[in-house]
Symmetry: C2
């Protein structure tokens, strides 16, 4: 079975989660081979937490899991795009639908999304 090229980038490849219904880019995290296989086996987006250095089943604590509906791999096989159903509609631990809730506007970063949940710890 083909796999992304985990010999690259120290074995940690960027994985983008995109809402399959709206097209919104929700977050970027990292996958190693363990996280990749766990994602395929369970159908739930699973990353490798570079902060905690452990497997991270997205939403395991918050309930905001990501049901993987499609997986795409890029031309160099060193990046992954997960097209997901974002349970709860909130991907970001800050309570926003997407982690990309700040827009660069000249000298400031302006919040351009509405917070839906209180900030959580992870």
């Amino acid at each position: 079975m083909p796999e992304p090229d985990f010999d690259k980038r120290g074995g940690l490849l960027p994985a983008i989660a995109q809402d399959i219904d709206t097209g919104e880019v929700l977050m970027v995290a990292y996958m190693n081979r363990v996280a990749w296989r766990h994602t395929l086996e369970t159908g739930q987006a699973t990353y490798w937490s570079t902060a905690r250095n452990e497997l991270w089943v997205k939403g395991a604590t918050s309930g905001h899991v990501q049901r993987v509906r499609e997986i795409l791999v890029d031309c160099d096989a060193d990046a992954v795009l997960l097209r997901v159903e974002q349970v709860g509609g909130v991907a970001c631990h800050e309570g926003y639908p997407s982690c990309f809730f700040r827009r660069v506007e000249g000298d400031v970063w302006r919040i351009v999304a509405e917070r839906r949940d209180p900030p959580a710890s992870g």
Copy 2:
């Protein structure tokens, strides 16, 4: 002026390019501080080529530049989302609109996009 946290991840942060009109995720590349500033100053998506170890103005050779219409920064300030107008409609050096042209389908990766240009060297 605020900047992404280039003290993280060895100074190279993932930067996603998304077609601002269609929402399609086009590619993932990397930015260091030099690439970030060049992008802001020129309005053209500029990355750091980890293969060539040099500044990479996307499309400088092919003409398929990315005109940056919006820049978003994630919650941890260690990933960047460029919402772009993809000149020529082709982001991938393989000639596909997006670098994510292969979908994981069981044991195979199936090409799910139409090639628009012949493969190029970069």
